[in-house]
Assembly symmetry: C2
Homo-oligomer: 460 residues x 2
Amino acid sequence: MSLPELSLLGIAITIIYTSQGSYGITEPLQAALGFSLIGFISTNYLIPKLSSSFIKIGLYGKDLSKPNKPVIPESLGSVAATSYLFVMFFFIPFLFIKYLVTNTTGGGNRDDGITQIRDSDLDRFPHDKLAGYLSAILCLESTVLLGIADDLFDIRWRHKFFLPAIAAIPLLIVYYVDFGITHVLIPKFLESWFPQGQTTIELGWLYYIYMSSVAIFCPNSINILAGVNGLEVGQSIIIALLILINDLIFLVSGSFPARESHLFSICLIIPFLGVSLALLKFNWWPSKVFVGDTYCYFAGMVFAIVGILGHFSKTLLLFFIPQIFNFIYSLPQLINSIPCPRHRLPKFNPEDGLMYPSMVDYTQPTTKQLKPWITQTLELLSILKLVKLEKDIKTGRIIKNSNFTLINLILVWFGPLREDKLTLIILGLQFLIGVFAIFIRHTIGPWVFGYDNLWLTNII
Amino acid sequence: MSLPELSLLGIAITIIYTSQGSYGITEPLQAALGFSLIGFISTNYLIPKLSSSFIKIGLYGKDLSKPNKPVIPESLGSVAATSYLFVMFFFIPFLFIKYLVTNTTGGGNRDDGITQIRDSDLDRFPHDKLAGYLSAILCLESTVLLGIADDLFDIRWRHKFFLPAIAAIPLLIVYYVDFGITHVLIPKFLESWFPQGQTTIELGWLYYIYMSSVAIFCPNSINILAGVNGLEVGQSIIIALLILINDLIFLVSGSFPARESHLFSICLIIPFLGVSLALLKFNWWPSKVFVGDTYCYFAGMVFAIVGILGHFSKTLLLFFIPQIFNFIYSLPQLINSIPCPRHRLPKFNPEDGLMYPSMVDYTQPTTKQLKPWITQTLELLSILKLVKLEKDIKTGRIIKNSNFTLINLILVWFGPLREDKLTLIILGLQFLIGVFAIFIRHTIGPWVFGYDNLWLTNII
């Protein structure tokens, strides 16, 4: 380790050490910052050390958007994820009230015991939340394990889509044994449909299906909006920042139980930012490493977990609007109404070093021709600036259209762009939409749903 | 899945389902059997499915003890380990009393709640032991993660030796936050050295060093006694059986807290036997798959965990006597008093298909010659039948000696042997020594230590 790294480590340990005995929310927040720094240092130290080993065992890929298509180590996100897991282990004693066994008859038996007294309502988390926290880490570790399997074995799409649901099993099972609440509040605008006085609805096992869906949705959305240097990590950092902003709003003006669950979320998100920023350093244009599916799954699962355990999964979905748009926008090609080539990444032009939208080319004999009504729809979308068309000058026939991905659409609007500018625009867009969503969430949301746990509390 | 597999799965589910509401220890035991069966089915189903994928990504090795040195997939133990982890997730609701949240102010807050009532003192585990269980699974999952890293990257010996201690971090940290007892009972024969009336001694952080040492010892011992078809899994199954026998003795005649901790151990061991037996089916001579370091670490860590959480780690070490002997016996070569070749595996003779002890050959110019006093020691060991020597007929000089490993020693005693017979003899020896150790533990042990938690209880 270099001297600056060692000094940074010293600072991190000091931050953590001095957090003990601080008053109120300062204690977990300060410790979270310290551990985030340690996660950053560890990831930053390990990635260059391990890169050549990854290449040696065949984990590498070509960066097609560079002049000489360099070979770059792949799946280095697993290093960031593993750093995160170990940081979160060491975080435990700073996060939870200790249970003191005062009497044991042996064999690990906890006959009598007391929990340490909390100085204020928020200086550490109650000991009985430890099982939930451990289930979250178990879920993340399973995600990393399955992610590594995916990176190694290239699992088929229809299988890998469900991997996050398998990884979420420990989270859901501990939720069942340790908490088990499966009713949700009825939004105000739906109340008239229910018997008078009923404010909640029991979802039962449907609630577990809902949680699994969140766990499938978040990791896959990040995995799909990918393929440009820095985009996977970048969007994850933006979403983490949005969650953090929302959490801080609750911390400042929320009531007690909501404050606690959002402080919990902050404590998971801040160390995540630490390891992700270190990864971004190496993954930013021009990338020295690729992150791999492991990181996308891991990042998505961190968000799913804070949303589920913090009971704000509806708000969470608002931060995925660009990802949701990307999915809906892709549908015409996914269902093959418009031909879908194997790769839809933007095209790199080595002459000017810029990225151009990639196109479906109907002059190729292998490309399926369009039905008339789809041609008309394409014309309409072109007027709305939602697709770029190229026409035969003589016949006016469409000979090319841009591929239906958000990345290509950004290039249609703002392109051609250098790769890092392209990433920056997508990230900026994600951030702006997210901030707007937070604003809507706390203004129009309460009016529609009849409550806002900034002042009142709710279940989801 | 084939029809027999499906019927077996049906039986497993029936066993688990009917365990609910059983009385006393029957409930967790019956569920453990059911989940063990599911672990067996899953491992047995997945290993042949995944073998070719393992070879494809470079995880394979040559079986040097076969006539044509076939290429065999390596690291398939990770499949057994992963099956175990997921089985243990689903086991949770059948193992722990549910905590029922009766009132929540939202945001995941457990304002009021009750734990389900237990029918008897042993039908399920108290809810407050859940965190310890989750930390055990976390520790195992970290072990698998680091084991896979080792199998992929071939980490150096001096580094990999400490990997299990890193994987044990979650176990130790949760022990600190959730239980934290670090005093041990003073053995009777040492009591006179302590102030009168003092029966325990506070070890403080030394106790954590002790637990780490157990976590380092068990996985590495299994990893070192290896290299013959079926030996890694075989010895793990024997150790698991010995732990099971010891647990059952406590279950039948122990007092309450010891019974509970040994029931806990049984619940971890029985599913372990399920996945291991399926793995053995493929790893037994002639092996269709190799198990890899992942399995050795995983198995060793299962034993370390039940020893630590069940507070019987001293007894546990008795079941590792052959492994401890193997280590001490290897020392002359490990410290290079006697030349240590790169591989010390027994030699396969393709003519008769039998295994012979491998030898250090002093007629080779590269082999270091022996000092006189070591020659004399070798002569003595040879008389004690602890080494095989080959001498020059004319000069009487030692020209060869067998390598110092337990495997070679068995061949010196009983060889030459076919590979499976060799494994069987080592396993038989391990079992007999273990059973004898259990006998000593419960007869001479109480006399030396002044108690036996068959009747009384103790801490370690």
